[in-house]
Point group: C2
């Protein structure tokens, strides 16, 4: 997705060979126009998948997920990272290990908002080791929902999450795939870009 | 805002005389079409205020804030409730006491995304005791930003947050004001509704 790739090139900050900071438009400050286009792109890619619900994780997944929900005209559910006081019963939970924070956290969704009638599109801001997406997929499976695919804003192609998810049979659609952050330079996956151009 | 009030009437669950659960469209599951209209309403009400940035709090403020940002064509910044590992330097922080959780938490925004050049619209999902909005206003003030007003999706008019903020001179625009949750019934502020009708 060219508009996204240009934004990453101009505003992304390489903090280390594995950490890309995109706080100016995705993770802390949010660019609503870009998110609108990101949502439209997810909607286009999954338009024939019969999506009934979008599942994401607070907080950075919410903006792209809500925009995808707007274009697909389906509700969005965001999994919570901590249990809320008014949301204690009937939760579906999964454990997610964060390699960045070196800790396992529980994510949860109310049983009321996912069922065997749903066909879910999972959306997240980043794909690195795939643990968050696997946790969200676990929740959808526990609810008996179908999983149409996983939409990712930025995939770090040099980490193993994408491979892990694709090997498990998930359709993964990443709008930008980064090949490398070595030497402070952001390199994008040429194949992904070519594929995108071919689709057009 | 009639569409919102109808949604609260049909899907809001009164848990106690002070707690209204709107998890089906705002706090856990999100209705993107409704949020789109909520964002449009905020944009209409603040269209002549020269807003340069929207400030909200993760997680439930993000969806209405991003939709308002889409319509006002300005970036959104969400304050974080916990410090992120890649966001440690140059934070502006404020303390927020939660009466529900009975604990004080720190909220923070990177100095990079708020400055004295900004004229901020604060957006949040709920207004009860006003502590979150006051914390967000503190952050904007510390950054030297102007504060054009505070946009609230649902105000609990029987709690003192609205009065507190208005006494401090803030322009508070609440899209639905609830007068009472007594006896399991949701009563809306008639004055607010009349005022809204008058504006039309």
């Amino acid at each position: 997705m060219d508009m996204l790739i240009e934004k990453i090139k101009s505003e992304g900050v390489v903090l280390s060979p594995t950490v890309l900071k995109v706080d100016s438009f995705l993770n802390h400050q949010i660019d609503p126009q870009l998110m609108h286009e990101v949502g439209k792109e997810f909607a286009d890619r999954f338009s024939s998948s019969g999506i009934t619900k979008i599942l994401t994780l607070e907080s950075s997944g919410i903006a792209p997920a809500v925009m995808a929900g707007l274009h697909l005209n389906v509700p969005v559910v965001f999994a919570r990272k901590r249990k809320s006081l008014t949301l204690v019963n009937d939760l579906i939970t999964a454990s997610v290990y964060s390699f960045t924070k070196e800790e396992t956290s529980e994510i949860s969704v109310s049983k009321k908002y996912l069922s065997e009638k749903d066909n879910v599109l999972i959306i997240d801001d980043f794909l690195a080791n795939g643990q968050a997406a696997i946790g969200l997929a676990d929740i959808a499976k526990k609810a008996g929902s179908g999983i149409a695919g996983i939409g990712i804003v930025i995939e770090k192609g040099f980490q193993n999450g994408g491979q892990l998810l694709r090997e498990r049979g998930f359709r993964v659609e990443s709008l930008a795939i980064i090949d490398s952050l070595e030497k402070g330079t952001i390199s994008f996956d040429k194949t992904a870009k070519n594929m995108e151009e071919l689709i057009r």
